[in-house]
Amino acid sequence: MPGDATDTELVRQAKAGDLAAFEALVGRHEQRVFNLAQRMLRNCHDAEDVTQQAFISAMEHLAGFREEASFSTWLLRIATHAALKILRKRRGLEMVSLEEMTGPAEGYDTVPHPEFIADWRESPERLVHQNETQRLLAEALDQLDEKHRPVFLLRDVEGLSVKETADALGISEANVKVRLLRARLQLRERLTLAFGDETRRLVAKHDH
């Protein structure tokens, strides 16, 4: 039955017309797609829209899915496209090309230096169970702009490779790398301000 089958087997069965197999795939991945959309868009209603669009689109294009990527990566790419469309609409940028949104190649020379450097007072394993942490994580993520948030979510939260992230967003791998660095540094700064031990703050020396 669908429960034990791999995604690849389910995809084959669904391609052959098996609705139960397709529904099993939906059941397996719906939470993940919804999470990505919810974190990218910070809005439940929009996240539902994106999830729905992603699965309808996956159904419509299943026959053409060549299985070069895993089903989940393919699906996350479809969901990312739908989410980016909403982000652009929100900013009134429907007429602006994707190029504008994705920007030219960025360099490392302007990457900001860490300012607040301190060991955290508690381990991530303990922090993750605190309600306050969830709020802080969401806030810090909110402060990332739309160029950086999707890169961080796809690469670090969903575990896509640099190449898969680049493909999903339609930007170069070089851009993924520099944006990921900025995103990580910005989140680190925010979280360390909240979780860092003020009494053990260190000052960076840039002279060596």
Binding site: G17, L19, F22, E23, V26, E30, Q31, F34, N35, Q38, C44, A47, E48, T51, Q52, F55, I56, M59, E60, Y108, V111, H113, P114, I117, A118, D119, W120, S123, P124, E125, L127, V128, T133, Q134, L137, L141, F152, D156, V157, G159, K177, L180, L181, R184, L185, L187, R188, L191, T192, G196, L202, V203, A204, K205, H206, H208
Partner: protein, 80 residues
């Protein structure tokens, strides 16, 4: 290696994608630079925290609606 150069290679190091030859100089710097050590550790913890953070549960009524809609569409496009 300077702190600034280390910063540019931070991701490759954290992700384990660093060139072994560069890794050695990177770690040599790290061993003598407490602030850089802490930044690397902070970044690792930041990633862990986001990776392990609780997802927003998929609303059950949305789930039902979604499955209903997909079933409907499937039947329309898979007519014998």
């Amino acid at each position: 290696m300077k702190c600034e150069e280390l910063l540019a290679m931070l991701n490759d190091y954290v992700d384990g994608d660093i060139d072994p030859a560069i890794c050695e100089t990177f770690e040599k710097h790290l061993a003598g630079c407490n602030p850089c050590q802490v930044v690397v550790d902070n970044i690792r913890k930041t990633i862990t925290l986001y990776k392990d953070s609780q997802p927003v549960e998929l609303p059950i009524e949305f789930r039902d609606r979604l499955h209903g809609l997909l079933r409907e569409r499937w039947k329309q496009t898979h007519k014998a």
